[in-house]
Symmetry: C3
Subunit: 187 residues, 3 copies
């Protein structure tokens, strides 16, 4: 069953499916095949990101793709701008990173458009400055089928929590949390 | 190929598929669509759990759903009891939590019933008391199709390992492990 | 759309799909059902691995299966050799381990053969000697359909990063990283 993009019926205010839509099986082979293709698209995005193949990653985005990373703190317009940002941020080989996308909830909104939620668990390590960052976030993506292949039209996420530590000792150096913005580093 | 719920044929003693059943492709669109719908159901369950939307989570359970969390240490009967337990345990906004479900093995047992295994990796952080808990567990779920939508009829898990640490320093304060119940905190 | 195993068209040099192949929906029920069956196969492999059911795990491999763990440092020929290696390495109940496979990209190369990429996140804990190891790697597998059920013909991975720590304190004791082989333990 497809969500109605125009009215938002079937999608809650956070972009997830409403409960009455969740758990309803797809009715056609095309719908199932589209969902699997979008999962593979996002899996390839993460593989190319963490292997620092930014130009190849760019080919998985619509030419006019937009982003809203970190609740819009980092926002971009167009494939070239996204690729530049990722390359500038993570291109340095002194940085090793892990971006894991879990729990895909892909909802087709037409024959050529879809939205999707993912649960991000990420970790970024910079051994040279004794630093690591980790945490979780919720992705809300939009996809478009272009010339028969699904591409990312928009991607963005909001943090759930983030911690920073010294890599060598595990000592916590920063912590923030969506549910409790007043949280302080204990100890 | 469907497992035979009555005889248990095709399911091993731990609730997983026996080897002769594993790797056999589904024969119908309906079966594949049901499997995907059940995955999205569980993904939504985790999304609503970690965003503390417990009432919405309740709608994904059968009205008479049962649980057996932590090998039955926490067991509940009925949606209302489950929602109360989760809300009481995790409703406090001073707690941030991460429940990741991996490796779904969904097996249809009839047109309206299914069982599923998942591999849980969880983490619970309470910054205010300098506490974190993490570990893994194996979920064994039962699902039922109600009015055309899959719902959780039973969910429960058994721990593989669990550790507790001080959030600020990473110091281990407790450890337990299914394979080695005698394990002590080293150091 | 199937990759051409003979020419390598559609597969890049790292074994992933080239961008023009990514995001294209499957055209048949059989293809989708095979992809799901292969995912369940690999999920069962990880379940049986981490529950130390090595003989059962062996049944998921082709009789003449090969491995190339840790970039070929550990390579095996035949199911019996693989099962012996895993049992020797991880059979000790003083060891608890977690092998999580993410981001499957399964590509059928014929009606009875397929290749697949997975993103491994693993952790091995030996409390008795105050040791833990963790990290990520990229799996490149080959699968074969034998008597109607998919089996693993080859499995192997290359590390992205690996760290070793004292379990009790979190202190880093070793670190290596594919992008920066000169990285030293900080501090």
């Amino acid at each position: 069953m497809k969500a109605d993009e125009a009215t938002g019926r079937g999608l809650d205010t956070e972009g997830g499916r409403t409960a009455d839509m969740i758990g309803r099986p797809a009715q056609s082979l095309a719908e199932l095949a589209d969902i699997e293709a979008i999962k593979q698209l996002k899996h390839a995005y993460f593989r190319l990101l963490d292997s620092k193949q930014f130009d190849e990653l760019g080919l998985l985005l619509c030419v006019d793709a937009t982003t809203s990373y970190e609740s819009g703190k980092y926002a971009h317009h167009g494939r070239a701008e996204v690729v530049s940002f990722l390359s500038d941020s993570l291109g340095n080989r002194a940085i090793v990173h892990e971006h894991l996308g879990h729990h895909p909830e892909i909802v087709l909104t037409s024959a050529t458009t879809a939205v999707g939620n993912w649960y991000l668990h990420d970790r970024v390590i910079v051994a040279g400055v004794d630093f690591e960052l980790g945490g979780t976030a919720v992705y809300r993506d939009e996809y478009e089928k272009v010339d028969g292949a699904w591409r990312i039209r928009h991607t963005g996420y909001e943090r759930v929590y983030e911690e920073q530590r010294k890599l060598s000792t595990g000592e916590l150096t920063a912590f923030r949390d969506r549910f409790n913005p007043e949280a302080k580093i204990p100890g």
